[in-house]
């Protein structure tokens, strides 16, 4: 990179950048005040039956549509 010296100085100064003092403390205080709990990554692994993922939603939707279609087909015979 030309000119070399100013670039190297700029790079070194950016690398030496430090976050403001007490930032870590503020982060921890905010976390504690929010009372947020780390969410579970995969509910299926933790015992819940349904993981809210797009793929699961599509499968559920397609399954429901299929069941309703079958039910509708039988309803024709059952209806007096």
């Amino acid at each position: 990179m030309t000119p070399r010296d100013p670039y190297q100085q700029w790079r070194e100064s950016r690398r030496a950048d430090q976050p403001p003092e007490r930032l870590a403390e503020r982060i921890m205080q905010t976390i504690e005040a929010s009372r947020v709990q780390p969410a579970k990554a995969d509910r299926r692994r933790s015992g819940a039956w349904f993981a809210p993922r797009r793929r699961d939603a599509v499968i559920l939707l397609a399954g429901t549509a299929f069941v309703l279609r079958i039910a509708a087909a039988f309803a024709v015979f059952i209806t007096p």
């Binding site: 990179m1 030309t2 000119p3 100013p6 670039y7 100085q9 700029w10 790079r11 100064s13 950016r14 690398r15 950048d17 430090q18 976050p19 403001p20 930032l23 870590a24 503020r26 982060i27 921890m28 905010t30 976390i31 504690e32 929010s34 947020v36 709990q37 780390p38 969410a39 579970k40 990554a41």
Partner: protein, 178 residues
């Protein structure tokens, strides 16, 4: 790496204070990357804080086999920076106008150089700036940047190369000023 897994385990088990060592370890790199992308210390502070809040809330989603914790934090930081940049009104960038009161033959001082490098970096397209900041400021390996950006390795290499080339072109007028 192993001790990080243990710390994460403790946090997920409910030990909030264990998260402090993660914050202490990574607040510097995250802050530098965010600042390199936003160029505003106040925004960088807010976004760094948001990055760690999000990381804490979604810590269970982090998978150690998919890469180092730093890269996962950089992904969160990158996404938050892009949101901030999208909300900002674009400002015209005029990095190389002569500074008032300075003679054309007078050399630039250190601070002026730095401001012009920052302005040149800010003028880069977002994807090149992200790749450049991660590679040049944080020394992140190209493979990790590819994972963070979800692009092939070759794309990262060309983004960094193009960023360097553009910076060189943007800073060319300064050589004549020297």
């Amino acid at each position: 790496m192993g001790d990080e897994e243990a710390i994460i385990g403790r946090v997920l088990a409910g030990d909030v204070q264990a998260f402090r060592s993660i914050v202490d370890r990574y607040q510097g790199p995250v802050f530098r990357v965010v600042r390199g992308l936003l160029f505003d210390a106040a925004d960088a502070e807010d976004v760094t804080q948001e990055v760690f809040l999000t990381a804490y809330a979604r810590l269970a989603e982090y998978n150690v086999r998919r890469g180092p914790l730093a890269s996962w934090l950089f992904v969160i930081a990158r996404n938050k920076c892009l949101n901030v940049l999208a909300r900002r009104r674009p400002e015209p960038i005029a990095p190389f106008e002569p500074i008032d009161g300075r003679r054309p033959d007078e050399p630039l001082d250190r601070q002026e150089w730095f401001e012009r490098f920052d302005a040149a970096l800010a003028a880069l397209p977002g994807d090149q700036r992200i790749a450049f900041v991660l590679a040049e400021i944080e020394d992140t390996p190209y493979e990790e940047i590819a994972r963070i950006e979800r692009v092939p390795l070759g794309t990262v290499k060309s983004r960094v190369a193009r960023a360097k080339e553009k910076l060189r072109q943007l800073l060319k007028p300064l050589e004549t000023e020297r």
